[in-house]
Symmetry: C2
Subunit: 554 residues, 2 copies
């Protein structure tokens, strides 16, 4: 297993450096090009995916005689995959037993295993892409990038932070204190001990991207990990668990250091696992309702959450009206607005804004945004690639109900594209509302639903946007202005509200994007989540230090 | 204020280095020698202390018209000092308002202020010693060392950890990602934002040593701090707050960045402050009962606790029976057992142990410990210096009730020393019990109460001791053995139970001692507390990082 560490040492060193400098860096190529991943990689991945369908997914771990699994692709096809069901107590007991030797392994040995898992996940990026696409509804290219290399980068980032933190504790020191004419001395050894069994609760839209940081952070700090996927997106994490178990076995560890807790909507295991006395860490991505339940009821474990927010955009003015509208149209459309980073509320002054195309009234700004969405989605193939499919039928119902919340600027509709013939689809719904209609726009409306909110002026926009972030949560914010004072005011207000800000994005970079090793994803400083991917606070509590001191014979 | 940083830069650099290497280091001399602190320092400190007695303590901060304060020295004298009373909402509002400019200051400016506060506290170590001694009951020398330089070292340690953590985040970076033949680029700025108002809840026995880490960690990371002392030990923290406010004012900040929330046993402010919506961090030292209340009821803030434990000693054998007994006698007697690090349960096999003086039966071991305590305390002046006074009358009642819990090996009695004529005092009560009497010894019996517990054998001792640490909490553990296998078994068991271990202490170093920059005090891994003084986890969550990104013009 030390071979694994040696083999990946250069990757880890580069990751450690990237996490410090926080410029651009990536370990895993995001291009699905045959030149990068091999001529047959895509076909192999598709074949491997199809070979998994309509049969039991094999996983040799503690299980009951039952099987679970009822995933249906948002593109139309039931996956027909079943997974071993598990008794929570048996799973935790197995994790605990397997965790003993894992806890005793060195940080290097554990990091080596984690890095080898990531390397093998990277090789399986096309398979993972198919699994992510057919559970989340993401388009293939997005599922490849966000579910594959970008998720792997996030996992590696967590490994790097955790490894750095563990290595800051010296293994042994001599403590020599002056005493009279001589010294008194103690030899001190420091042992790193894990917090307890880690539980990773996955979400239905980004099972790997959101799941890997907690999984790898807990794992590398010495905790066995139980992965509890969303019942609608089990396969990507089942593949991940299988790969992890293979590597653990090869490295001489009990594979139960990583197990899968597949369950059903009807009989969820999450609460029993999260409150189990031996579970010491819970990582959760999902709804604020369940996030709150965890924060209030899990007393024995650290709880790291990414919940949700109402992401604001403040539109004060722009040097490129077209660029702004196109940029926002893409952000609103990408994966049909099912990203935790997608904007929901666009605050525009009642008096309109100044632009490179002259003054635009409130209605003209709203119409410009609507037209840009139409333009982006006019080509069916491009529309399919941008929008993907809708993960959950409830989102369609939510769109339907939302139509009455304001004046429809641009209506939502299914996508008429050959690639999406059997898929559940919806283009963005854009509504105009007055700032007073807080009941309409201050609630998170998950999916392709956005509001153009009419405010008194930009100061009012900033105040409302920052207040909404502070009270309802926000993961991203954006501002468009040609006035430095407005940009600084927005920077200060959103910093105070604990939300990352993007300024004047008009080109090929979008507010939705969050880059590993550079962007701090979620700040932990507003209701959108209590944790950040990835900072030191995300890893430092996952292990503890125990000192052993012995007098040095005089 | 940048002068403060420059003036103390070398101290900070040395502290940063010490926190990494964790060998011996101290910034503030622990010797109260006139050669170190000046010929008149002790007399000046005593005079300054006496000048504070029997009058209002002046503190120009938001206050109601009432005054509070009813401290009575455990040495007999009512202090007669009153403090401004405060309305919790007004105090939090003032902290919040003062915190804005404090949050906007650089880490360097904030560290400079913190280091200047520590330097001035150090100069007032004799005054602080009087205040600590006459509230906690510690002997003067202990009050000087633990309440002065050692507490200041713990504060500095927190400053160093927090400063290092803040400096790991770059202020600004350019993110350049390859795209086609060129790159796309974002300029990213990272702002550090504080978590919220910090609340430090002090204890009655070590108000400064346990209070400074949270105070300085929250302060230097940009949070205004409200200090809520124990009603029985207000003065040491009132002096601390006054010095902090002086330095803040000189540095151009609103002094309400640090305020005092003195209250009474009858009308405590703690719950109202701890659950206030604007309080973001709570540091608590005190009883497990209130610690649990905080952990279960404070939903809006990070909560760091040091509660209490039942510290075990495993006695398997020794190469110096006399050295062992003398060492443990001192640990049991020091400050009348009122240290969170004092041993309570000494596990000895029923068959006795092998020593350099031959085999000793269980009863002989118990008697040896009792005799060593008698010997240590035979000289009244030395007894006064070691024991000090008893902080709380309830401790005397606890001793009385404890006598019936086992066979009295050595009885507790008041100390007949001139220096303690009016003081509340008690020597250690040592009881022998069978291991089955868990109701007697598994409960924390705060004060000079200890049990010699008769076990089947050393394996039984280790198992019981580690289990008690895991389930009831422990801050220290000790083992005496000449067998390396026993020492390793104890090391593994106590590491698993999350408690620091001292091995074969027979000389002038004691299990009670915890050295800043070297020992991790409390692990956070058992019920004795959820936080460690000081590790990265103690500081990393006290601030958050907010990114602001702007495209670089192509």
């Amino acid at each position: 297993m030390s071979d694994f560490f040696a083999a990946h040492r250069a990757t880890l060193d580069a990751a450690l450096s990237a996490a410090e400098t926080r410029g651009y860096w990536s370990a895993y190529p995001e291009s699905p090009s045959p030149r990068v991943y091999g001529e047959t990689a895509k076909a192999d991945g598709t074949a491997a995916f199809e070979a998994l369908l309509d049969r039991p997914f094999e996983l040799d771990q503690p299980a009951t005689s039952a099987r679970v699994g009822a995933e249906v692709s948002p593109y139309g096809r039931p996956l027909g995959v079943s997974y071993p069901a598990a008794d929570p107590d048996a799973l935790v007991a197995a994790a605990k037993a397997a965790g003993k030797a894992w806890a005793a392994a060195s940080p290097e040995d554990r990091a080596g295993v984690a890095l080898e898992i990531l390397a093998r996940l990277n090789k399986q990026s096309f398979l993972i892409a198919e699994a992510v696409s057919h559970t989340t509804g993401q388009s293939f290219i997005m599922a490849f990038q966000a579910g594959g290399p970008h998720a792997q980068d996030r996992g590696l980032e967590a490994v790097a932070y955790a490894f750095a933190e563990m290595k800051r504790v010296p293994g042994a020191v001599r403590w020599e204190k002056p005493a009279g004419k001589g010294t008194v001395a103690l030899d001190k050894a420091f042992r790193l001990v894990p917090r307890g069994v880690g539980l990773v609760i996955g979400c239905a839209t980004f099972p790997t991207w959101n799941g890997y940081p907690g999984l790898f952070a807990s794992l590398v700090t010495g905790n066995a990990v139980i992965v509890k996927p969303h019942p609608g997106a089990i396969l990507p994490l089942a593949i991940t668990v299988k790969i992890a178990r293979d590597v653990l076995t090869e490295a001489g560890f009990d594979p139960n250091v990583v197990t899968l807790a597949a369950d059903t909507v009807e009989a969820p295991l999450t609460k029993a696992l999260a409150t189990h006395a031996d579970v010491g860490i819970v990582d959760f991505t999902g709804s604020p309702v369940f996030g709150r339940w965890l924060r209030e009821n899990v007393r024995q474990a650290l709880v790291y959450t990414e919940e949700a927010g109402v992401n604001p955009v403040v539109i004060d003015g722009t040097a490129s009206f077209k660029g702004m509208c196109q940029n926002l149209a893409f952000s609103l459309s990408l994966y049909s607005g099912q990203m935790c980073t997608a904007p929901q509320n666009l605050f525009v002054p009642a008096g309109g804004i100044d632009t490179d195309e002259g003054h635009k009234s409130f209605d003209e700004v709203a119409a410009g945004l609507g037209k840009a969405i139409d333009g982006l989605l006019s080509d069916p193939d491009r529309a399919a690639g941008v929008l993907g499919a809708v993960q959950n039928p409830a989102t369609l119902a939510r769109i339907k109900a939302a139509r009455s919340l304001g004046t429809v600027v641009r209506d939502s509709a299914p996508v008429d594209a050959p690639a999406l013939a059997k898929a559940r689809t919806a283009t963005p719904l854009l509504l105009a509302v007055d700032a007073a209609a807080e009941d309409a726009y201050l609630e998170e409306r998950f999916g392709p639903i956005a509001f153009v909110v009419k405010t008194t002026d930009t100061a009012d926009s900033i105040a409302r946007a920052a207040h909404s972030a502070k009270t309802r949560g926000a993961i991203t914010a954006a501002v468009y202005s040609t006035d430095d004072a407005v940009i600084e005011a927005a920077s200060a207000a959103f910093a105070d509200a604990g939300v990352a800000l993007s300024v004047n994005l008009t080109g090929g970079l979008y507010v939705n994007q969050s880059a590993a090793f550079s962007d701090f994803h979620v700040t932990g400083a507003n209701p959108a989540g209590n944790a950040c991917l990835t900072d030191t606070a995300f890893v430092a509590g996952r292990f503890r230090v125990v000192g052993i001191r012995t007098p040095v014979a005089a």
